[in-house]
């Protein structure tokens, strides 16, 4: 009986051709989704990082200028998007390895762990930026914060747009984690 179990363990490591095919498709989906997410974060960090607006009037002492560095939340947004983008590009190698060797499990768990952490990082950055953008648009009567978007209209439009790429990447990262979990269960 003991002998059979050991033998069974050996054989079960070679998955059936059908499940291997499904795992290859899942790995391919994973690879493509990683590219999409990487492009999303890249677009976001470029859009936020390059946005600046100078108002067409100056006082004697002040030149009215808005860049992302004025608010630490936006700096965090650019850094977090760059980190996640870099990670996703590097993870493409491992994802490509999974297409070839679709039964790999340990490296998939490794990816799930990092994907989850990166998703948390990106979600934190994107929602913090979104909260600030919301205040910039609407202001806050309770806190007496003035909506700066009334002056810096084009600045506000661009930073609002730059959030889109991040939120698409977050959704794609959720899908990546789900697909990887399914692939792990199907080996």
């Amino acid at each position: 009986m003991k002998g059979t179990t050991v033998e069974a363990g050996e054989v079960s490591k070679q998955s059936t051709p059908g499940s291997r095919g499904v795992n290859k498709v899942l790995s391919l989906m994973d690879f493509i989704m990683r590219i999409i997410a990487a492009l999303g974060t890249l677009a976001s960090s470029i859009a936020m990082g390059t946005t600046r607006q100078t108002l067409p009037f100056v006082t004697r002492f002040v030149r009215f200028k808005a860049v992302y560095k004025d608010l630490p939340t936006f700096t965090f947004f650019v850094i977090a998007n760059s980190i996640v983008c870099g990670y996703l590009v590097i993870s493409l190698c491992l994802s490509f390895f999974h297409i070839i060797k679709s039964a790999a499990v340990r490296s998939r768990i490794f990816l799930v762990i990092f994907d989850t952490v990166m998703m948390a990082l990106l979600t934190a950055a994107a929602s913090a930026a979104a909260a600030i953008v919301a205040v910039a648009h609407n202001g806050s009567t309770g806190a007496n914060w003035f909506p700066i978007c009334q002056q810096y209209r084009s600045f506000c439009e661009r930073i609002s747009g730059s959030l889109i790429g991040s939120f698409i990447s977050i959704i794609v990262l959720v899908l990546i984690i789900i697909v990887t979990s399914v692939a792990i269960s199907r080996r």
Copy 2:
């Protein structure tokens, strides 16, 4: 040869006693971590939801009062924490089922999917609230937003404190997803 494979597949479904023991430990960890995360979100939503401060002076028209509802981000924070807390309590049933039946895979994938979504929701709420709290504390010279914490000191201290529970829950949720992935891979 074909016969052997089928037989192997049958046997491999019954995991070895050793791996079953490890899976039981993982399931138990999962159960305990869910309780911790649920308590964290509960504490956060109660702390944020019950905070109010009225300043000791009034003008003829205005009574200076701060509640969480003044800022939509804080309302989102309370709602998201309540949703995640409710989900975690419900998921305890399934987590308990995994302690008894530690080889279950499909229900674990089900949990990973919802855990990931809930983690994203909680991270979004907590970091949006943190971004607003940061502005409330430090203000923003660029945007000309005044730090309201200088007046509403006790309100600010309590809402800052209420973030802690959420961030602990986020870390615990990341650990839960990792533990579940490992458990799925070990069946």
